[in-house]
């Protein structure tokens, strides 16, 4: 006797827990692989998973087995040339026809164990332990952020939301309540009828009276409707406003002649990391690109990264423009404001104190976080030192770091956004 069962609709992810256990156990390896991948990958590439490889010996489950050596006889199939008593030189390296299965297993055991993690997992590992500084849920945003939640049962509603169980239960209760006394009387009358028929079968008058009574009671019970409009119960759904937060990210970059394409590339990577990171934390993000040499300009992404211009450098122009845009489009009570500035550190000497002033007085008080990365292998210049003063005044919301090569980007990023114990 056989039973055929269709199991295809059963869950297919029975191994998910075990897979998670594996990732959990080797999270150090995976994290390392992810970090390497981040510095190796092109940034536009950040949106897919990653192949992780772990040395097999690290994940081997040890068992007791024979080592090489000793005396062993192994039977193989497919003899072509050998006859009994043949002597053959020992092949070096195990493999081939004469190595035992076990020996070649351990010989090849050094291969890496390679597997795939999804994009979601990749980003999780990448941004693990990182936190948006001073993330404040500021404002309940527009109409798109409602969510419907169940809120019990109501007497009014849409037919598609009828709760059948509750409805029938209440109908049942109503029927019992409305017909209860009639039923009790009916039972009495029936018992009486039985008694009369048994004890006084000739008493037609009483029997007829009681039969009429029974008839009347039955009709009365029957008049109670099976389902009445006020039995109907509906599942109630209510809309709750969903606190979402909006963020705007200002990208400021120096495009003066001193910034080479390689430097800009590093800056771009840094900005994209920041963008991906914000995207995981906020539902709505605006990005404002401001580039500057001696004067600043708001541009689109393409122009921001790829068009070339030359000229001197006046950083304060960008800060001024940023301040104007903030005042005009991003009121502080509605938006979380972030800014990342990348530069090679060059600035018009007289301009650096002005930058400091604008930052301290106008920008920083409403800022969630301002990061400044200086992409240069050289000594710091005036701007860096001016900014250091800003950092002293706003230690929680202002950060500056130096990047020398591409490989520094991610560590610096981590450094900037390291999760802090809430003070």
């Amino acid at each position: 006797m056989s039973y055929v069962i269709d199991r295809r609709l059963n869950g297919k992810n029975k191994s998910t827990v075990n897979r998670q256990r594996f990732l959990r156990r080797y999270r150090e390896h995976i994290k390392k692989a992810v970090e390497e991948a981040v510095s190796r990958r092109s940034i536009t590439d950040m949106e897919h998973g990653e192949q992780i490889s772990i040395p097999s010996r690290d994940i081997d489950e040890p068992i007791l087995h024979h080592g090489r050596g000793g005396r062993q006889v192994i039977v193989h199939p497919g003899n072509k040339e050998f006859v009994a008593g043949d002597r053959i030189p020992r092949p070096s390296g195990g493999g081939g026809g004469s190595g035992s299965g076990r020996a070649s297993n351990s010989g090849e055991g050094m291969d890496d164990f390679v597997f795939q993690i999804t994009q979601e997992e990749f980003l999780d590992f990448m941004f693990e332990d990182l936190e948006l500084p001073n993330l404040i849920k500021r404002h309940l945003a527009g109409a798109d952020s409602f969510k419907t939640v169940r809120a019990g049962i109501s007497n009014e509603g849409n037919p598609s939301r009828i709760n059948i169980v509750r409805t029938l239960r209440s109908a049942h209760a109503r029927r019992i309540a409305l017909s209860g006394s009639s039923r009790a009387k009916l039972r009495e009358a029936q018992a009486e009828l039985e008694r009369l028929k048994r004890e006084e079968p000739d008493n037609f008058g009483d029997i007829q009276r009681i039969e009429a009574e029974i008839e009347r009671l039955r009709a009365r019970i029957k008049r109670v409707p099976f389902l009445d409009t006020f039995d109907l119960k509906y599942n109630l759904l209510v809309k709750q406003p969903n606190p979402t937060s909006k963020a705007v990210m200002f990208c400021l970059m120096d495009v003066s002649g001193s910034m080479t394409q390689a430097t800009k590339d590093i800056a771009k990577r840094f900005f994209i990391l920041l963008y991906l990171f914000l995207k995981r934390n906020y539902e709505k993000i605006d990005v404002v690109f401001i580039r500057h040499h001696t004067s600043a300009k708001e541009v689109d992404e393409e122009e921001f990264f790829y068009s070339r211009e030359t000229g001197g450098t006046i950083v304060s122009s960008a800060l001024k423009l940023m301040q104007e845009i903030m005042a005009e489009r991003y009121p502080v009570h509605e938006w979380n404001l972030y800014a990342a500035q990348a530069s090679d550190g060059d600035n018009w000497n007289d301009d650096s104190p002005i930058c400091r002033d604008i930052l301290m007085k106008q920008i920083m008080p409403s800022m969630q976080y301002f990061t400044y990365v200086e992409i240069t292998p050289r000594e710091h210049q005036a701007l860096w030192y001016e900014y250091e003063q800003v950092r002293e005044t706003f230690p929680h919301t202002f950060a500056q770091q130096q990047i020398v090569s591409v490989a520094d980007i991610y560590p610096v990023f981590r450094e900037l956004f390291q999760r802090r114990l809430s003070a």
Partner: protein
Amino acid sequence: MKRQPISTGSEWTFELIRAYDREIARLAERYALDTYPNQIEVITAEQMMDAYASVGMPLGYHHWSYGKHFLATEKGYKRGQMGLAYEIVINSDPCIAYLMEENTMCMQALVIAHACYGHNSFFKGNYLFRTWTDASSIIDYLVFAKQYIMQCEERHGIDAVEELLDSCHALMNYGVDRYKRPYPISAEEERRRQKEREEHLQRQINDLWRTIPQGSRKNHEEDSKRWPAEPQENILYFIEKHAPLLEPWQREVVRIVRKIAQYFYPQRQTQVMNEGWATFWHYTLMNDLYDEGLVTDGFMLEFLQAHTSVIYQPGYDSPYYSGINPYTLGFAIYSDIRRICENPTEEDRHWFPDFAGSDWLETIKFAMRSFKDESFILQFLSPKVIRDLKLFSVLDDDQKDELVIPAIHDEAGYRLIREYLAAQYNLGNREPNVQIWSVDRRGDRSLTLRHQQHDRKPIGESTGEVLKHLHRLWGFDIHLESVRGDQIVQSLHMPPRGEQDSDEHTRLELALPPI
């Protein structure tokens, strides 16, 4: 009497699966194949990967190593490097067999014949399975085990349970009784007993390790005797019963791993027989279907193509060679038994006087029921099979510079080849013989293991890691002595001994971090 074929296309439907199953069951009935009821489950490829990853258990406790299996399977499958198994079948009552949705009708029929009638009757018939496993209670037990381990994780944390399972898995192959027979019990019984065990065991162990000095001096002599008196082969059992520091729940987890190891023990010992038997029957039953005109020529060609690839045996010098294919060897031996019974030659009468010319069905069933791989090969590997597979042997002795071919497929070599091949399937030879030798009960409580060397084969390089796991379970020092004859040739210690007292025996270099 040619009949209408059951189906002509390659698409399957549930009705067709039932129809094929009915016909195959009818034919199997003709050969009086005794089976458990079948539960055929149709699943998707993803579900097959899950089934794969849980190493043949329909439900298992959670452990990262299954996740590792899964990732490896998933990667292989997604890249198309590996097809999935056609079938997975579980030794349970009813016998659960999985059919993959992607298979054609022909493949489904093949799997039904192979798993639902071949493997199934093997599970029910073979003596090892009858003795060591209880098909009707295994699912219940796995449910119990899964729940118990989940509870432990809640109570003691995932890490504690994972560490313990790692250690148990390392010794899983040494968690089986090779000679004693366990009694199967139901799941409720199991739960009830588990409670009892928890209470009693701890009391006993406290007794065993009592350190309060005893009044009489007579015990002195008793103390100096080796304990346990006999070497113990079942290391996990010994740990479960006697490890001084384990908590009751830890003992129970050790027990669960041990039970599951025991459940799989017969499968490890009957690979050739089991696969050969299933292959023999799918081959026979499908041919019968064809003979009765129930399947089309196209169906049969597809079947033969699949069958040929199942029993494909690359030669020793082929790049695809990875040892002897158990399907090929088993199928060849069973088929040859049938031939010897039906058309014996002079040679067969000489080699197999007991059954040459006898009833083939009886003989082949006897062969299936009463042997394991080792004895099966020793009894039934015929000269013809040796010739057909062109078997030859290679002697690799590390004291000689050259490899020697002691025997090939000729008159002088048949017996030797047969012995060598049988020994190759002897689990006792494949795994190092390591047993518990003694416990220093009154001293440092250290546990000493003995490895009896076989043909001077040393113990593998991961032994140090295994000893670490054993050390975790036992809680005190572990010593492992490798013995050749009566002489200790090598000893390992966990925690490792410092360099100052390393004697000439410790030649094996282990990369063990200092503890």
